[in-house]
């Protein structure tokens, strides 16, 4: 289980406190207004932002001193989720090993993951030769192959059209839950949260609210979320 224990993040005149446990093997949405610190919260869990106080614990072990690559955490950013100069098989393989000639077991796993996401036959293509949806699938294959138990989604599908985004969100949920991952997903859209997130947390006014069931939260939003959603 991932637990944030009295975490306090300070950047210039911005501050955010968080104290919650991420529901295991489930999808949790992160809702809140722009600039409230949703991405910063993910950055702290991934290891890009060092908290000023508190601990981030995985199975009781403190992650805060670890660099991003040593954490049990995968993250999909808004963009640049694949290296544009490498083919997608190499991109996915880098989640396992940086070796120039990975062994057959690695290659097999990479090809299996790409096939699972409908990208068989495209292993040798560079990201630039794929559509936006295919690039998202390749990045998702990388996350699956990495096999890390916590997955952070920082609006990776925001640039896609509504239908494609919905399709990829469903696919992501199905694949990651099947792999047993705990997922934390930033979104601007309450409909996206309602669609795939079991729980939701609200980041607003310098605080992170503890997880609550998405349907209940959206049915009766707290004041900060109510203002963000534009409800009276």
């Amino acid at each position: 289980m991932l637990r944030l224990e009295a975490v306090r993040i300070v950047q210039d005149d911005f501050a955010l406190t968080a104290d919650f446990t991420l529901p295991p093997a489930a999808v949790t949405a992160v809702l809140g207004p722009s600039g409230a610190g949703k991405s910063t919260l993910l950055g702290a869990i991934a290891g890009f932002v060092a908290p000023a106080a508190g601990r981030i614990l995985w199975e009781g072990r403190d992650l805060t001193p670890l660099p991003p690559g040593a954490r049990p955490v995968s993250i999909l950013f808004q963009d640049n989720n694949l290296f544009p100069h490498l083919d997608i098989a190499r991109n996915v393989a880098l989640a396992i090993t940086p070796a120039a000639r990975p062994g057959p077991d690695v290659t097999d796993r990479v090809h299996a993951a790409l096939a699972q996401l409908g990208l068989q036959g495209m292993e040798g293509r560079r990201p630039g030769a794929l559509s936006g949806g295919q690039q998202s699938r390749a990045a998702l294959a990388r996350v699956l192959v990495a096999g890390r138990p916590v997955v952070l989604l920082d609006e990776p599908f925001a640039a896609l059209g509504p239908a494609l985004r919905a399709e990829l969100l469903d696919l992501t949920r199905a694949q990651l839950l099947a792999a047993g991952c705990s997922v934390l997903m930033v979104t601007h859209d309450p409909a996206d949260a309602a669609r795939i997130a079991d729980h939701a947390i609200v980041v607003a006014e310098g605080k992170v609210s503890p997880p609550a069931p998405t349907s209940a939260l959206l049915a009766d939003p707290p004041p900060a979320l109510r203002a963000y959603l534009g409800q009276p």
Binding site: P67, G69, S74, H85
Partner: protein
């Protein structure tokens, strides 16, 4: 930067070591020069004259280059014509053109037996001489008029197209409203940059200057070492040269010196001014004259070179191999150091990345000469010393090409590499090297081309068996074997262009998406 330290792992230490090596080379040679200069040498009146000549030729060259570049840059900024892109590219060429080759071409036009004097003679007018002050300035302008044009053209390109549109709707004078303020900002920096370059123009002054009234400080260093065998005197002069360069570089630090390789020179915004016949004629004349001034000497090198190829003496071939070996070594060294430093980042490498500009190649060479004097045969270390100093001299350019690119790569792809745990060598292998390919190729090509045509440090060290190709050409010119020299000039030109093209092309080939 603590974060980048983690990401680089052991690579960080290579960057530190590279920066320390560069600082040690520049300051170490300087210290050697300083310690040697203390031992009893004094400046004679001829040396004071050399200082004055150095300052005068640099100042006049800078002012002339910038003044002549303004009409050329204005014409390029507001005219679209076939060949404009080629002409702008040509303006970048003198940077990699071997100095001795260009001077040879200039002599073929303006020299005693050149086209100009032949024409004047036909008109019954007396011959003009390009040796001495006039010749040095002529060659400096040949090299720096294109640089000034590019710098000023960048200023013009930086004026947003909307401003020209606004000025046109208001019927406002573009010159006073937009162009003059821009020139006021750009010209001092451009002139200072060229002044700095001309302060250390050794080869030009060596070939076209000489004699008591046209000797620069760097030529005086060469003469003290090679003719007077007086390292103490050479060291004292080297200190004077460093003082000149440091003061000028300090002045340049007060003014912003623009970067010579900026983007966006291809763009010609729509303009509504300069449509009169006079303006069109002036622009056409500026472009035609500039193109002729740059192309005619090169055309002469090619034309006479083909004739001279049959006269090449045998010593040319081993010299060409030596030049190639020196150029490749210098290139690998410069790019390797620059890459290690650019990856490391931080204040130390920022200082080390510009430090060689404060010294000069000949000063570093003098330092190495003083350090090795008495226990190493100069002829034996001629090639390694030349490669080392060439590498140091082109390091700032290589560093300037790589450092911003590393920053962009980190910003775009660093987080992904971090989450994948790509640190140290794997990060270099999978992220930096492939994404820096273009910049690495450009920097390697630049370093190799600069080194292949360099007539500098080699003159201090070379014996009969360690001459590089530019030195062989210089000796041929000195013994009036001009046909053979012409053949070598063509070879040198071809080699400089070929090494630049090969590396730069290698960087662009299979360009990554």
């Amino acid at each position: 930067m603590a974060h980048r330290a983690v990401a680089l792992g052991p690579l960080r230490w290579t960057g530190t070591a590279a920066a320390v090596l560069v600082v040690a080379l520049v300051l170490g040679t300087l210290a050697a020069v300083a310690s040697r200069a203390g031992s009893g040498a004094a400046l004679a009146s001829a040396d004071v004259a050399a200082v004055l000549f150095t300052l005068q030729q640099a100042a006049v060259s800078a002012v002339l280059s910038v003044a002549l570049a303004v009409p050329v840059a204005r014409a390029l900024a507001r005219r679209r014509f076939a060949g404009r892109r080629a002409l702008v590219a040509l303006m970048g060429a003198p940077f990699i053109l071997p100095v001795i080759v260009a001077v040879f071409g200039l002599l073929a036009i303006f020299g005693r037996g050149g086209l100009l004097n032949a024409g004047l003679g036909a008109l019954g007018l007396g011959p003009v001489s390009v040796y001495g002050f006039g010749g040095v300035v002529l060659a400096n302008v040949f090299f720096n008029l294109p640089l000034a044009t590019r710098l000023i053209l960048q200023g013009w390109s930086a004026i947003p197209a909307e401003r020209f549109r606004l000025a046109a709707t208001l019927n406002a004078p573009v010159g006073r409203l937009l162009e003059r303020p821009m020139l006021r900002d750009v010209l001092p920096g451009a002139a200072l940059a060229i002044f700095l370059i001309c302060l250390a123009s050794f080869a030009v002054a060596l070939i076209l200057g000489g004699g008591p009234r046209a000797t620069t400080v760097e030529v005086a260093i060469f003469q003290a070492l090679r003719f007077d065998f007086d390292p103490a005197k050479a060291a004292l002069l080297a200190l004077v040269q460093v003082a000149l360069c440091t003061v000028a570089a300090g002045l340049a630090g007060l003014v912003t010196v623009p970067a010579a390789f900026g983007p966006g020179l291809d763009r010609v915004p729509a303009r509504w001014d300069g449509r009169g016949r006079g303006a069109r004629l002036a622009d056409g004349a500026a472009i035609a004259l500039a193109a002729a001034f740059l192309l005619a000497p090169l055309a002469m090198v090619v034309a006479q070179g083909f004739v001279g190829l049959g006269q090449l003496p045998l010593q040319v071939w081993p010299a060409a191999l030596r030049s190639l070996a020196v150029a490749l070594s210098a290139s690998v060294l410069a790019v390797g150091l620059a890459l290690a430093m650019a990856l490391r980042g931080g204040a130390l490498v920022q200082v080390a990345g510009v430090l060689p500009l404060a010294s000069s190649a000949l000063v570093m060479g003098t330092g190495l000469f003083v350090l090795s004097h008495g226990w190493l045969d100069p002829g034996h270390i001629a090639l390694p010393a030349t490669a080392l100093v060439n590498a140091a001299a082109s390091l700032p350019f290589a560093f300037r090409a790589l450092a911003p690119a590393v920053g962009r790569i980190e910003a775009a792809h660093g987080p992904l590499a971090d989450t994948l745990g790509l640190t140290g060598w794997p990060r270099l292998r999978w992220l930096y090297l492939p994404r820096l390919r273009g910049e690495l190729g450009f920097a390697a090509g630049l370093s190799a081309a600069l080194s292949v045509g360099d007539l500098g440090v080699i003159t201090l060290f070379a014996g009969p068996d360690s001459a590089t190709l530019p030195l062989v050409m210089y000796r041929l010119m000195g013994s009036y074997r001009l046909q053979a020299a012409a053949g070598v000039a063509l070879m040198l030109l071809a080699m400089a262009l070929a090494v630049f093209w090969a590396f730069d092309r290698g960087g662009r080939g299979h360009a990554a998406a």
